[in-house]
């Protein structure tokens, strides 16, 4: 009598949740309402049934029914609000597994366990989760997200961020898991004040939105003053729907100011470079520019100013005169002036290149010894590093030294991140030069991961990335091969 409505209601509930995940409009609230309604009905039905069974002294059956009927509805809530805050990673794993009897229930269990570990980290928990993760072959989004949470549990947010984002490239999709990744990324970005990251993710609908993510997206849109920003009232609604309202109070208020001030001002870049007074001689001016460049947020403009100032200072007669006079007074060895000029040029180029590399700046359009030297340094430095990294990757495989799938993935995303950073700074020309080597290594590794390791999702992600790059640089041969590789069917656990 109960079986049919229960199955029907469970299906309906899941449908509502799935529908909500795909939405970022007022439908989001509607589907949330529907899901809540069904959950309430199911809850009432289940409690009635359980009560009846107890009444009939069939208490063992009653307990079984609690497990069967109540867990799928209250499971995720229990995980989020009880087990995770307690750090009960084992229970979270099993409850996660139990409440999602979908096609691949352990995926959610694994991430739930890693989440519990991230909230209350202990060494044994990390090992336990890692062991469960490594047993799951081939690699999919849940493994990557669980690994990200483990990194976060050690306080390594940068690694966690990178790994979370990388899950997006994998074709295996567990919405339950992905939405958690999206929420983590949103919370992390909010903590750092990187509202544009949240807005971008929302715009691209990269991750299914949990109520908390949806609220933070609203805050981001309002802070950035974007056209699609929710109204004041809607933001309040999103806030009400999301958990942890006590802690999000402040964010909501900051994004819904009563006065006319625009919240977008918060994002304003402090990019002012204190321009050196023009009356100074070239050398002090160069040093002042250098100082300003190394202390304030580096930008291409300030780099250009510094480079030009140095080129002027080092060719300035006054600098040469001062050096010559002082060299004589100090009794410096012959040739000291020329050597000093060369050394200063090297030191300056080194320092500028280091800062520019760190801030992913391109080479400024300035022609002079320092400008040209810096451009060459940045370009070759970036290409050399990329080539070295990609070569080592293949060499390692060639030497028969194989890593766990997750580590192969981490190596790939590290290389890909470095590649992206280099081409962002170096522009289209550098991209064209960097591509052939990355391509030959990448296709080799993708083929090996597919053929030998059966890591289909991983291999596909690499091929997909290479295809995108090939399209960007217009390499016809690579495009052709890329299409062929990407068209291969990728088996995932969701197919079972």
């Amino acid at each position: 009598m109960y079986a049919l409505p229960v199955i029907l209601l469970t299906r309906l509930h899941q449908y509502a949740i799935d529908a909500r995940r795909k939405n970022r409009t007022w439908h989001y609230f509607a589907w949330s309402g529907v899901a809540a309604l069904i959950a309430t009905v199911m809850f009432l039905l289940a409690t009635t049934l359980v009560a009846l069974l107890f009444y009939a002294k069939l208490w063992w059956l009653a307990i079984a029914m609690i497990g069967l009927l109540l867990l799928p509805i209250v499971g995720p809530t229990l995980v989020r609000h009880v087990l995770v805050p307690l750090g009960a990673y084992r229970l979270a794993y099993y409850l996660g597994w139990a409440c999602r009897p979908g096609k691949d229930p352990t995926a959610y269990g694994l991430v739930a366990a890693a989440w519990a570990q991230a909230v209350k980290p202990i060494g044994a928990g990390e090992a336990w989760v890692a062991l469960r993760r490594d047993k799951r072959i081939p690699l999919g989004d849940a493994e990557v997200i669980a690994t990200a949470l483990l990194a976060a549990s050690r306080g390594d947010a940068a690694t966690a961020r990178l790994l979370m984002r990388s899950a997006h490239m994998l074709v295996e999709i567990h919405p339950m898991v992905r939405e958690l990744a999206g929420e983590w990324l949103a919370c992390d970005a909010a903590e750092r004040g990187a509202w544009s990251e949240i807005a971008e993710d929302a715009e691209a609908a990269r991750w299914p939105a949990t109520p908390l993510t949806y609220f933070l997206e609203g805050v981001a849109a309002r802070r950035l003053g974007s056209a699609s920003a929710p109204s004041r009232r809607e933001l309040w609604a999103r806030w009400l729907l999301a958990p942890h309202r006590r802690h999000t109070n402040e964010l909501r208020d900051a994004a819904t100011p009563t006065s006319s001030e625009t919240p977008a001002a918060h994002e304003a870049q402090t990019n002012s470079v204190d321009a050196p007074p023009p009356d100074r001689a070239p050398l002090p001016r160069a040093i002042a520019a250098h100082l300003a460049f190394s202390t304030s947020a580096p930008s291409l403009i300030s780099l250009g100013t510094t480079v030009r100032a140095w080129d002027a200072a080092l060719s300035d007669g006054a600098t040469h005169g001062w050096l010559g006079r002082r060299a004589l007074e100090l009794d410096a060895p012959l040739g000291a002036v020329d050597r000093a000029l060369r050394e200063i040029a090297t030191v300056v180029t080194d320092q500028l290149a280091r800062i520019a590399d760190g801030a992913q700046l391109g080479a400024p359009m300035s022609h002079g010894p320092i400008g040209d030297g810096l451009a060459r340094r940045l370009r070759h430095g970036r290409l050399d590093n990329l080539e070295a990294g990609f070569t080592r990757w293949r060499d390692r495989q060639h030497d028969g030294e194989h890593h766990a799938a997750i580590d192969e993935w981490r190596e790939f995303i590290a290389l890909q991140t470095a590649y992206t950073a280099a081409i962002t700074a170096g522009g289209a020309e550098l991209r064209r030069l960097a591509f052939p080597h990355a391509y030959s290594t990448g296709t080799h590794m993708a083929a090996w991961l597919w053929n030998t390791r059966s890591e289909y999702a991983l291999s596909h992600a690499i091929s997909k990335w290479l295809l995108d790059e090939a399209l960007a640089v217009g390499d016809t041969e690579a495009i052709e091969l890329g299409h062929r590789n990407c068209d291969l069917y990728v088996p995932t656990r969701n197919d079972k």
Binding site: V119, H244, A336
Partner: protein, 107 residues
């Protein structure tokens, strides 16, 4: 060359004589060894930096060599005055510290 400029490390002007430099370095090394509080940092145009015996030794060795002194002077003489101020606000500073934890994502 600004951060660890020998003249800044020793806290001396760029026209100091050799013997003065030696004397100051010897004094600083003694004071560092005995833990004099006011010797533990030095001022540079980039802000205060911690002073160590290795830095003092390296500074005095550099200034003994006429060529390296020339380079050190070039920077020290033409740089803006050293400041005690710490570096301007660090852009990596989170704008809502601890938010991720309070939203249930620990640790």
């Amino acid at each position: 060359m600004l951060e660890d400029n020998p003249f800044f490390v020793l806290g001396l002007p760029a026209d100091t004589s050799r013997i003065e430099i030696e004397r100051e370095a010897q004094k600083l090394l003694g004071m560092l060894e005995l833990g004099f509080a006011d010797t533990k940092t030095y001022q540079t145009p980039l802000g205060a930096r911690p002073r160590t015996p290795e830095l003092v030794r390296a500074a005095v060795a550099a200034l003994r060599d006429p060529y390296r002194r020339l380079i050190a002077e070039l920077w020290a003489r033409h740089a803006p005055a050293p400041t005690t101020a710490e570096r301007a606000t660090d852009p990596a500073e989170p704008s809502h510290p601890g938010l991720r934890r309070s939203l249930g994502w620990g640790p």
